[in-house]
Amino acid sequence: MGLTLEQRRELRRRKDRRDRIVGILAPTFTFVLLLAAWEALVVWLEIPTWQIPRPSSVFAVMFGSFGEFLPHIIRSYSTIIIAFACASVVGVALAAILTNFKALGVALTPYINMLCTTPVITLVPLLLLMFGFGQWVLILAVTLQAFPILNMNASTGFNNVETLKLELMGSLRATRVQTFRHCILPASLPNVFTGMKLSGIFATTACVSSEFSGGNRGLGARIIAYTQFMKMDKAFACIFFVAVIGLFLYTLTSYLETRVVKWKI
């Protein structure tokens, strides 16, 4: 190829820009199309609002009654974000410890995996009984549900660094900490980010389902309450707010990944 490096980079930048524009426009178009279809079907089949509300009325309620939702949005979002942050730290740190101390890893890994497969909603009544209705109990429950999947992914990454790369660090007599910092962690970042994306999803669903089962605060609790009173537009508004935070965490992690893992082709 007769292109200079600068030319190749410019071509790549242009392609990236095109990809980014398509990446935003295409899903937006799908979104609008789906909502339009939903709206049209509800109107056309004359489905009553207490069964399925029209998206336009859901959006109207989302903005019109925003003050009513706000305390619950704050409650759920703060639970999810704090728990997601805790899970990120615990998941990666624990994976680092468990992959470095094999015996500990063998002793604990099955139970961490068990935590991952147990729905946290089954634990929440127990935790509420033990610790009361404080928000930190929910944060604990959601963290417990969200960190194992990250731990699994990070451990997979940490355990599968190419032998040749480890030999390179060995040839430089790097210490364990140096090897982890300069080689194992950066090599595993794609796995860590995959784990974080999943952990964000787990945190969101775990938070809402925990709120279903206890207390009267948070978006989960409101969805139950509004459904019982047939206020489907408001119930759907809450579901949309949940979708927003889930999407936000996913997008945030993806963005961080493209910033940090620049070297991946």
């Binding site: 490096l5 190749r8 980079r9 040749l164 790369k165 030999e167 390179l168 660090m169 060995g170 040839s171 430089l172 007599r173 790097a174 140096q178 300069h182 080689c183 950066p186 090599a187 970042l189 893992v261 620049k262 070297w263 991946k264 082709i265």
Partner: protein, 296 residues
């Protein structure tokens, strides 16, 4: 035809030690052996009682059939693996259990694949040894620039490895192995992953670099042409367990080692001889493998 007759035969070559350099060895291996745990629970002997003295400014090439313990031998020399038996010494200091960690600064290691860290730019890859050795202070930028110039990549400092060709990547990894100014450069089939044309080009490049830096170099290769172009001394290992089958000094004069070396009569003769020896060792290895590998 018993090719074991070649073992330590020195007839067609100038005997080792009579070359230009008579100073004592820098690195010595004394009956070094390496056992690995085999899959069936037994032990696999990879390297058998290799004794070798590496002298200052010497370029040693190690040839041998595939799976002859060449890489293991080199890794023991570079402190990546510990020998099971035998002693090693570095500048007169004797070590019973392999080269200790605090001496690894004396070595630079080049791997078969370039083994660059893909998340670091070229300059940052060269910084890695300096960071690990805690010597990435002022002056390191100059040192890195000097090394990149030596391998002809001074304009590629801020580039990521995936933006470079295979040959360029291997040149970066050569620069990285020399950035902390080691005495001894160990190369494990450094040109093995390259296409034939790049490979030949880079072998001449390597000759230039070895002449410019005058470092001790030990290179494992499976290519006889490279060995004759670069090596002051050539060793041939047997198939597993690897021991030295043949060892001799390369008496092709330095001024004849250039693009025209293939026309050199001495080169042709030595090439044919080494070709026979290496083939015989591969053949012997296959036969031993078929009859159950009594060497294990």
């Amino acid at each position: 035809m018993n090719w074991c007759d070649h073992k330590l035969s020195r007839l067609p070559f100038e005997p080792p030690g009579s070359g230009m350099d008579r100073s004592g060895p820098i690195l010595t291996l004394d009956k070094v052996s390496k056992y690995y745990e085999a899959q069936n629970g037994g032990e696999l002997l990879a390297v058998k009682e290799v004794s070798l003295g590496v002298r200052d400014r010497e370029f040693i090439c190690i040839l041998g059939p595939t799976a002859s313990g060449k890489s293991t031998l080199l890794k023991m020399m570079g402190g990546i693996e510990k020998p099971t038996l035998g002693t090693m010494s570095l500048r007169g200091e004797i070590f019973e259990d392999g080269i200790p960690a605090n001496k690894l600064r004396n070595f630079g290691f080049v791997f078969q694949q370039d083994n660059l860290l893909p998340w670091r730019t070229v300059v940052k890859n060269l910084r890695l040894p300096l960071e690990v050795f805690h010597s990435a202070g002022h002056g390191s930028a100059d040192r890195i620039a000097e090394m990149l110039t030596l391998v002809g990549l001074q304009d590629y400092g801020d580039v990521y490895p995936h933006e470079l060709s295979g040959g360029m990547r291997q040149r970066v990894s050569l620069a990285r192995a020399m950035v902390h100014d080691p005495d001894i450069l160990l190369m494990d089939q450094p040109l093995g992953a390259l296409d034939a044309i790049t490979r030949r080009m880079l072998s001449h490049e390597l000759l230039r670099i070895s002449r410019a830096t005058r470092k001790v170099m030990v290179m494992v290769t499976n290519n006889i042409d490279e060995a004759l172009l670069l090596g002051d001394r050539i060793l041939v290992l047997t198939a597993l367990p690897g021991e030295i089958a043949f060892e001799a000094a390369n008496d092709i004069p330095a001024e004849a080692r250039n693009e025209a070396i293939i026309e050199n009569a001495r080169y042709k003769a030595l090439r044919a001889l080494l070709d026979d020896i290496v083939h015989a060792q591969s053949e012997a290895g296959r036969t031993a493998g078929r009859t159950g590998g009594d060497g294990e």
